[in-house]
Amino acid sequence: MRFYQLLLLLYPKSFRNEYSTELQGIFRARLRDHIGFIARLGLFLETIADVLRNAVATHTDILQQDVRYTLRTLWRTPAFTATAIVVTALGIGVNTAAFSIADFVFLRKLPYADADNIVKVMLDGGNQLSPVLYREWSTSTKSFQAVGAYFNGSVNLVGEGEPQRVERAVVTASLLPMLGVQPLRGRVFRPNEERDGTGAIVLSYALWQRQYGGDEHILGRRLLIDGSPGVVIGIMPSAFNFPSRDVAMWTLIAPQAASDDDHSNFYWNGVGRLRSGATVAQANAELNGLLQRLKLRIPDVYDTTLAFIFRMRDEFSTQSRLLLLALSGAAACVLLIACANLANLLLARALTRQRELLVRSAMGAGRERLVRQSITECLMLAAAGGALGIGIAYASLPLLTQLVPSTLPIAQSPAIDLRIILFAALLTALTALGFGVLPAWRSAGKVDLSGLRDGNRAGGGRRERSRSILVVAEVMVSVVLLVSAGLLMRALLRLESVEPGFRAENVLTLRTALPLPKYDSTAFRATYFRSVLEQLRAVPGVSHAAFITGLPMVMRGGVWPVVPEDQPALARRAPSASSRFVTPGFFAATGIPLKVGRDIEETDDLAHPYVAVVSESFVKKFWPNQDAIGKRFKFLNDTRTVVGVVGDVRVRGPERPSEPQVYQSYQQVINGQSSFYYPKDLVIRSTLPQGTLVPAVRTIVRRVDPQQPISDIRMLSDIVSDMTAARSVQVRVLGAFALIAFLLAASGIHGLLAFSVSQRQREIGVRMALGAQRSEIVRMVMNRGVLLAVAGVIPGVAVAYAAGRAMQGLLAGINPADALTFCAVVAMCGVMTIVGSLLPVLRAVRVDPAVAFRAE
């Protein structure tokens, strides 16, 4: 019998209350009729089946009833329904979008086999490994199952169609097999294949599609890469983005590069797969032990070198992390406000519907049925909002992908998949719980029949209090969001107002990287540069054109030690400066002001003494308050004479300090130097639109060298604004969040006051009949509004300050207690309160005592 009573718990409570005695009676009777073990066992099994089937059916019946009822009531109040759905959709949408990015960047496994065990190696100061150090490491390590190395570079790809400039990773043969990703077509490299020098090429999916239209017969095709022949052996799947998403092909490290013995030639990136059981700390200790031993042999190079091994998963900057965390936090705030707003809406509605609920409950609907009905209603509203929210998330993703750090070997944008949908569903359920179920549960228990008496003031002080608390919470959270958005906006403005040191408007930049060994000779290169520049300058509308080895803010390194001739003592710990080689006219083209002396000239060739134009900070550093012209310094193995001084350039962008700059003549480079020494980026100052200029440049370059590709076509101003792109996306998103929160909070204040005025019509009427002035009525309503706002703003300001402190790393030096931002936000809250109270106040003063009484 006990067993049967337990089974009955499966039925809805209302059904159980009604029929459980009867059901038990029947079961008892049948138990008497079934004698013997087999018969009873049969009865039990039959009963279990019966209860299960009918319990589910009864629940479904009720659900259907509730759904029908809910649809009817929601349909009757379209404004309420639409508001509730839109508010939920905003809350769920922004959170789903933020989660899909945060999950993609922080949580999801990298798309490699057993990705947790893949680590990267770096030496202190961000240095990479040298080939010889890599060799020592790979042969001596015990912590790793496999190790590999790679370096990046771009190459000219000549095959069919226009010659192309593509990014390539040069890898050891061990690297791709170590990552454990199967190629889509063909194969990856075989162990030790680099020794054979076969010129094997693995293509990225993107390049295969873009350049070869997904040709199935590509395997075995011969291609020319920077002039040397290679053969396609495989294609990687589209999700393979190692080491970064712009890499379009993988080739093997050349045997002679791999056997390089120069310990100071750091340019390889080390990657390893930890042996099972080995830890990052062990691997770190092991590598640092190796460095200690090398230090004994070669103290010059390994003087203070330390190695860092870290999981590949963790390779993104603190700033990326902060940007995303701030975004997620803000999204959570929006959801909180949305929930508070909805809870408020539902409470207000519950008050107006109290009579209906009382009637239903008087007619025998138990508390359980009423709560259940509310739950169904909330879930339906939330589900509609959730579905719309996923749409919002989907639509906002392209904007948010700017926040995915480019250092991680993952795609640019996450996909909305089952995981994201599940998250949204979970959030929907929680939202429904937050805004509906708990309030419903609380209020349903307090049904009070006195409410049925006509004219009784619906609602009580307790409910208004909980509504007030919700509004205060909304105000508080919106203050936090407004302040955060304000601080970040100030930071963005500050960074955007940082002078880059050049005039970026109307400057087109593009790259024509000359392949080696074809352009090994300096004189041959000079002919190319001169003919391109001469023809370009002849184009009407072009005022200046020049080549440089690396654009500011694009190429940030290229830093070398400087030893002034008059300060030889600096040699041991020489300060460094960034080195660039330019053609004459670079400063005019980019608008970098020439302060003293002259520009690089065509006569500055190998037959003349090496010259340099340096930046003002260079002079300030080495010869403060002196005339720098004619001073000599050792740089890049040669002694150079200063012939000119130019303004400083923010080489590393607005957020980081830049080294002083040294510009050298493109002709003062001996033959056969590495590509670091010759210009590849073309800058053109012109009034022509890009659409006219680019074809003209193409024609000119093709005329000079038909095999020379053009790549990286961008306006210099876009390069500058790209520096703050992630920030500006974040500010826009956070600003939108703050605005949503602000409007929701304003509507919360408005809703509460409007409701309380309509509930207190009689009281207001009485007061006015007793001679109260309109101003007193206004004060009475306004006081409520102001009280709500102040109660929200005070804790809001405190929390906002804490939030500002937490994201100080993003503020670019703006004080988290920035007075301007805080004052502006408090002022906005004042406006919000006034605007929110306006209509309720108007309604209150228009109350006609006679009408207010007649309504009774």
Binding site: F15, E18, Y19, T21, E22, L23, G25, I26, F27, A29, R30, E46, T47, D50, V51, R53, N54, A55, A57, T58, D61
Partner: protein, 120 residues
């Protein structure tokens, strides 16, 4: 509650259990277990309504107004205080009649199509 003809038509065809319950309470007020036994006896054991199905049907039939709970108890010596008794309503009778009529129509149509059926 006044019921129109369209209310009757809305409920047709009746689920088998509902029809049989209506038949069971058409003559006498019965309690739940008696209804189950009555149906089993009448159908010669063909149809056995489980307790769960019975009360789910009863709940719905009460809402639809096909039956009602009765306060009149049978003779005290036959009564069990805990039991609830059900009686058919005039609307329930109308619905049961309409369901029977619907079945006669079906049989007539089947015959007209040359289907050989035993005597009704």
């Amino acid at each position: 509650m006044a019921h129109s003809e369209s209310d009757v038509a809305d409920l047709l065809p009746l689920p088998a259990a509902t029809f049989h319950i209506l038949l069971a309470v058409a003559q006498d007020d019965l309690h739940g277990y008696a209804i189950i036994q009555d149906i089993e006896k009448r159908t010669g054991g063909e149809l056995r309504v489980s307790a769960g199905t019975l009360y789910r049907s009863v709940q719905r039939m009460l809402e639809q107004g096909l039956i009602r709970e009765t306060r009149e108890r049978p003779a005290p010596e036959l009564d069990d205080e805990r039991r609830r008794y059900y009686r058919i309503t005039p609307f329930g009778s109308a619905v049961a009649r309409a369901e029977g009529q619907r079945m006669i129509e079906l049989v007539r149509m089947a015959r007209a199509q040359g289907l050989k059926l035993g005597k009704a």
